[in-house]
Subunit: 118 residues, 2 copies
């Protein structure tokens, strides 16, 4: 069983921006970016909401073309669609991720921010 994803050319800019314009989803993307290369399953994000609610937000991200979800057993391995996003909207993902990394108001997956040495 595979989940529905838009093709690269079906990814819409307003839709991507709208989907990223939610603190929970931005936190998901930020965490995915911080672990880039490592596919994560949904339960990694339970800090951010209930199982049902995460299913909803992860579906939004997937349907907008921001993430890819691969079905492996009972898990969905989730990755950022960096190549497709970079091809369609050069620089956008990087600037969003960099800005999100600075945003102390965003919810966080680990529960705490990275320490800054004084």
């Amino acid at each position: 069983m595979t989940l529905p994803h838009p093709t690269a050319d079906q990814i819409s800019l307003p839709n991507v921006l709208a989907v990223l314009g939610d603190p929970t989803r931005l936190a998901i993307v930020r965490y995915l970016a911080s672990k880039e290369g490592v596919p994560l399953n949904c339960s990694q994000f339970l800090d951010l909401g209930s199982k049902t609610n995460l299913s909803y937000h992860l579906a939004k991200l997937r349907e907008a073309g921001v993430t890819r979800a691969e079905v492996v057993g009972t898990s969905r391995l989730i990755t950022l669609r960096r190549n497709d996003l970079d091809a369609r909207f050069p620089g956008l993902l990087d600037s969003v991720i960099a800005a999100a990394a600075e945003d102390t108001a965003l919810p966080m997956v680990g529960g705490h921010d990275v320490e800054i040495s004084a």
Copy 2:
């Protein structure tokens, strides 16, 4: 009389993304960017919606810190807050504008796109 604007540090990333995640507002920003330096009044955007509806969308952009509106007579002269946005979210505005410029699905202010010579 002056209109309320957030200070640069009050501009929120999720909010900016959410506000830009609407085709009408993205079209406004795209047009402002294409005329950068030239302050535009609201009626320039009447192609995109009714007077009332534009008032609503322009208020959203202003309240999110994306635009600045200066009251001059009965007009509001609207400009992009490029400096503030670039300072808070480096590269974001440029990548959004570049991507918006390529997006043929966005509504347009002039009514037609720029011709591409064959």
